[in-house]
């Protein structure tokens, strides 16, 4: 599902390939002091007419629940001659035993590359490539999936392959080895960039080293995973009442329904997947540090525990986020980037996940020499959420931003289907978006003050710095927040492998 760990979220933002993305955060709020323009005639843009927006009520997907509990969502779209579908299955990396950490990565790769009882993965590769079609398997923290995409004319054959993978996978020793090797290639490289280190250690600080939301695959856990583990995971999770099938594109709904019923109707119902649980204490306050000697920029992450979207205060927190860090005009970006020029990448969010607490993060990257100065500026902005009253202008602008861009949550059929699938997966009501819009509209200044008082607690935050200590100038102890705890990021490696890698041992 869309749900992702903070780590991957930032990886995506930071790996932006082109030279310039001036806005990491893409939403913003207006903080023009209201009195500045009051005395002047309207500005040119204020005279430009904004007619009412054309009415727009996109058709919601058709929802069909089979007798065995499998849910189907259908969103026809005839603009282009393609069909795209996904089979989403509950259960992901947070649900595997600690000593099997990495199982979902290996499973989701070897599932597809191994192929089916009748066609090897390599044969599938050739067949699908010749049709410019895809069938791929994926794994995430709370789900796995099979997704397909093809020309309309190839739907029967390509969908057939997707179903065959679901019902007759042929997990293969050789492809498991390959997946293990790729996983290990990633593990030995995980300390090569400061951002990668920071994202990983941030989750460890917030959720705890052994938490299913933070733990890392290690060479030992990856090597200990067997074909039987993959097969057992498959048997346990491929249960129709834990599956949502979503299809979008150029099809006739009645025919598609018939085909999906025929494919999935016969699967026997199984135990319902348990709801997630867990204790979330948040980080142990303090300063944590990783010394990386080959860089000239520090990654600074200030971390706390966030909340879930079921929290009734979610709407007020969303508006608060806009004001705090929503974009260029937000307090954080305005100060750290625009006014002080300390960072290019600066962002923050009181994170809210669908079914477990997210992370409250404030992040900046700054040259080594301004590490302490930037940390102080970030802490000040966090603190001022409580001490600098929100203004009516800040509230109005944040709402304008959230509500006027609201249509981009559902302005195409594939987005409509993606939203609906997400809500179905996490058990949220289908009219959630409507409620969300109303919830944002209802937020008041008093709500903002209340949630800032209730949720922002600077004394419960951890500060993580990954940087080159020798160039800091001012030491981290100057923050006066207690001792600095160094973090050991050594990658555990079997002695034989360390020897084989010679000088390449990861530090």
């Amino acid at each position: 599902m869309k749900q992702s760990r903070t780590a991957s979220l930032f990886a995506a933002a930071l790996l932006c390939a082109s030279v310039a993305c001036p806005l990491f955060a893409q939403v913003t709020t207006v903080t023009i002091p209201p009195d500045i323009r009051k005395l002047q005639p309207p500005a040119p843009w204020e005279k430009i007419p904004v007619p009412p927006l054309h009415a727009f009520h996109p058709e919601q997907p058709t929802r069909i629940e089979l007798k065995n509990g499998l849910v189907i969502l259908l969103e026809p779209d005839h603009e282009l001659p393609f069909i795209n579908g996904s089979i989403n299955i509950r259960g992901g990396s947070r649900d595997v035993p600690a000593d099997k950490t990495g199982l979902i990565d290996l499973y989701s790769q070897a599932w597809r590359t191994s192929g089916t009882a009748t066609q090897s993965g390599d044969q599938l590769d050739d067949l699908l490539a010749s049709k410019a079609a895809n069938v791929e398997t994926y794994g995430d923290i709370d789900s796995t999936s099979v997704a397909w995409s093809c020309f309309t004319k190839d739907e029967d054959q390509v969908f057939g392959i997707a179903v065959d993978l679901l019902e007759h996978p042929a997990f293969n020793e050789q492809k498991l080895r390959l997946a293990q090797q790729q996983e290990i290639a990633g593990i030995v490289r995980r300390n090569d960039t400061a951002q990668g280190i920071a994202a990983r250690e941030a989750a460890v600080l917030v959720y705890g080293k052994d938490s299913p939301y933070a733990r890392q695959p290690e060479i030992a856990t990856v090597m200990g995973i067997t074909l039987d583990d993959l097969k057992a995971w498959h048997a346990k999770t491929v249960v129709p009442n834990n599956i949502i099938v979503a299809v979008e594109g150029d099809f006739d709904p009645a025919a598609m329904e018939k085909s999906l019923r025929a494919a999935f109707g016969g699967l026997p119902r199984g135990p319902a997947w348990p709801k997630p649980s867990g204790e979330f204490a948040g980080p142990k306050p303090g300063i944590y540090f990783v010394n990386k000697t080959d860089i000239d920029q520090s990654n600074i992450w200030i971390l706390g525990l966030g909340t879930t979207r079921r929290n009734p205060d979610f709407y007020a927190l969303t508006v608060m986020n806009e004001i705090f860090s929503g974009g260029f005009g937000s307090r954080l970006v305005q100060d750290v980037r625009t006014k002080q020029g300390l960072a290019y990448a600066v962002f923050g969010n009181y994170g809210a996940s669908f079914d477990h607490p997210g992370i409250f993060y404030t992040i900046a990257m700054t040259k080594s020499a301004t590490t302490v100065k930037t940390t102080q500026a970030m802490l000040k902005e966090i603190h001022e959420l409580k001490t600098e009253p929100f203004t009516a202008s800040e509230l109005a602008s944040a709402k304008d931003q959230l509500l006027n861009s609201f249509i981009f949550h559902y302005d195409s059929k594939d987005k409509v289907l993606a939203r609906a699938t997400e809500l179905e997966f996490y058990g949220y009501p289908a009219d959630y978006l409507t409620k969300y819009e109303a919830g944002i509209k209802a937020v008041t200044l008093a709500d903002l003050q209340r949630v800032a008082d209730k949720y922002i607690d600077p004394s419960r935050l951890a500060i993580l710095v990954v940087g080159n200590q020798a160039s800091f100038g001012t030491p981290l102890t100057a923050l006066n927040l207690g001792p600095v705890t160094p973090l050991d990021i050594t990658i555990p490696m079997p002695a034989a492998m360390r020897r084989q890698m010679g000088q390449q041992g990861a530090q």
Binding site: T293, G329, D400
Partner: protein, 511 residues
Amino acid sequence: MTVPCLAQSLVQNELARFEKRVTVKVLPNGLTLIICDRPEAPVFSYFTMVNVGDANDPSGESGIAHMFEHLAFKGTKDIGTTDYPAEKIALAKVEETYAAYDSEYRKRVGRNPEKLKELKAQFDAAEEAANKYVIPNEFTEIAEANGASGVNAETGLDATQYFWSMPSNRLQLWAYMESDRIANPVPRQFYRERSVVMEERRMRIDSNPIGLLEEQFLAAAYIAHPYGRPGVGWMSELSQITATEAAAFHKKYYVPSNIVIAVVGDVLPADLSMLEKYFGAIPAGPKPEPMTTVEPPQVAEKSVILRMPTQPLFLEGYHRPSYLDPDDAVYDAIQDIFSNGRTSRLYRSLVEKQQIAADAEGFTDFPGDKYPNLFAFFAVPNAGHTPEEMRVAINKEIEKLKTTDVTDAELEMFKTRARADLLRGLADNQGIAQQLAYYQERYGDWRQLFLQLNKINAVTKADIRRVANKIFVPSNCTYAMVEYQAPPIPPALPQAQPSPGPQAPAKGGAR
């Protein structure tokens, strides 16, 4: 060769459908406007493509095209200021004091530290005075309070592009804002933004192994053409760019005849006259002269070895002609056959069969496509394997391509996928706007988006062998490797270090 009629006719149908929906108008000032009606939802996306990139940066000013892109978010004579006439005077003072500081700072002999400090103080005071008129970030705030989504820009070596999506009842507001920032940008808070961009360089290159490898590789592969310079600029040059230089760059390159703008979504030909009112008002200027530099033929094989505390990496490249070369589609075919998915040759050989690499691919148009560029290979060795093994294995695959025809199936897969990719790219407003603007700018006709398939369909096995034999030769090759070297044991933590002055050029790639 069999022609897969169905997919072919699908493309024909799409072209016919677009012919009905697309309107192109070249305004009297030379600016090209493209609108494409796609009425699914009451929204639109736009893509402004300015035909200037960091390859056009004047000598000594590397990074200026990108720096200007950042400036384009700082507002105009109307947006972002409380009093433009007064601010204009204050900004002139900023430039004057900066020039005085700069000329002292750049003295190689006889620089007077006391005087430098004094000049810096005068500059700081002038900057402070100008800041009084600034309404920070007002430009983006207006856009986003009006529902703009995905507000962003990119500067490549070839072009600079600006884009966002908005509810369609804000089309006129957008036209006002976009035309105003093209015509009337104001270089406010320039020197603070320069610090921001220096942080961007530290993030993308100086503190990033792949960024550093790429920079060192390109600097070795090119001896004359600016493709050898990092787009973000060398730190020393970036840290000395002035607002005056940025204004001169804008004047020369941001002329209407150098700009194509595409708008896609809930927009009709009837909106053209309104759009023309705003974009037609941008003053015309002479079209910038084409670049004179052409990279000379490479005569020697080159290699670059980086020893760093980072796991090994491998990057190799061969010079090829620009996108206008008649063989352009042949390079696309080679890229597809080497790299597209698990059926590709490099995956099957290096990743699956030999199991020496976690990832290996060949790709064309690096680091740009407007000028002669490189066909490159990138490989990530598995644990315990070396960059040299990557080089040997890749060269074996290259040899095979030179000596043996590709299979019918491989060639057909490439053509089928090219058609499918084209059609799949027509699914969202932002993507369509980008493609229409790109093809209009590069070929003078957006239809090339569809017509390029004719060139792709014409590629033969013999073409592939001929082109492979032409470019994949040692004297045309540059390769770069990252080899692991343990970090030095850090000395005891010094309590304090003198920090460089605010204007001191920070260290570049050196480490």
